[in-house]
Symmetry: C2
């Protein structure tokens, strides 16, 4: 049950953009440095996010990336699906076009994986970038006290 760095870095980058939402485009280099990711690599990852319609890009000098929608309407699930494909512990319970299996009807393990998948999507879809911003604020307040 492991995510690749795609999903991991993808969420880091998106959260970084969320933290600076409203201040114009943020350059890839800035995000990469702040999040400690190779900018060459992040370049590829953010291309995926752009194609998925989660970020907008502004080319040229002073360009960069901006969230395509407000932080409240982008969830962790959106980001992970974009970066890692449909959420599914095993292929036969994939969210989209599940792999076929001749014993699917009577397969008990399939029931298990369905429950696991449902819990996964439930959590991931319930957390938005806005929720994370709120968490960040609470955390910094707690620290100051």
């Amino acid at each position: 049950m492991h995510l690749s760095t795609r999903g991991h870095y993808g969420l880091l980058a998106m959260f970084d953009l969320a933290e600076h939402y409203g201040s114009g485009p943020i350059s890839l280099k800035t995000v990469a440095e702040r999040q400690n990711i190779s900018d060459n690599y992040l370049e590829q990852l953010i291309a995926v996010l752009r194609k998925a319609g989660l970020v907008r890009s502004v080319r040229g000098a002073q360009g960069g990336y901006i969230l395509a929608r407000e932080p409240g309407s982008i969830t962790v699930g959106d980001i992970i699906r974009a970066m890692e494909g449909p959420i599914a512990p095993v292929d036969c319970v994939s969210e989209v076009e599940p792999a076929e299996c001749d014993q699917a009807e009577s397969c008990i393990t399939r029931l298990v994986w369905t429950r696991v998948r449902d819990k996964l999507t439930e959590v991931m879809d319930s957390i938005s970038l806005a929720d994370m911003l709120r968490d960040a604020e609470n955390l910094s307040i707690a620290k100051k006290v």
Copy 2:
């Protein structure tokens, strides 16, 4: 969010053993054929389950494998941990010795992954092989009607 075939096949094999719990040792070949897994490969996987203390082996003719404990006391979580290692979407929230990260204290994505991990373990630890046997029974009853 994908399992490897290790976990997938591991659960299939364990459930197969659970279905025949109490009828003496089941040979690897039998399980492999019933579950449609290469027996050469399953041989390696079941070695892992044995080393994890989840199955007992009986060598020699008429030998095979038996669940080490009753089906009610073996959970999906036990099996997945044995086959795939500690449950963790990313290394910094691993159940055992999480990877260190200098920003761990203030990392918001880490909170997200912790919640995901907790949901994952919650589901997996709540389903035992006995539960699955019950599901199988309900399913076959439903079909007959």
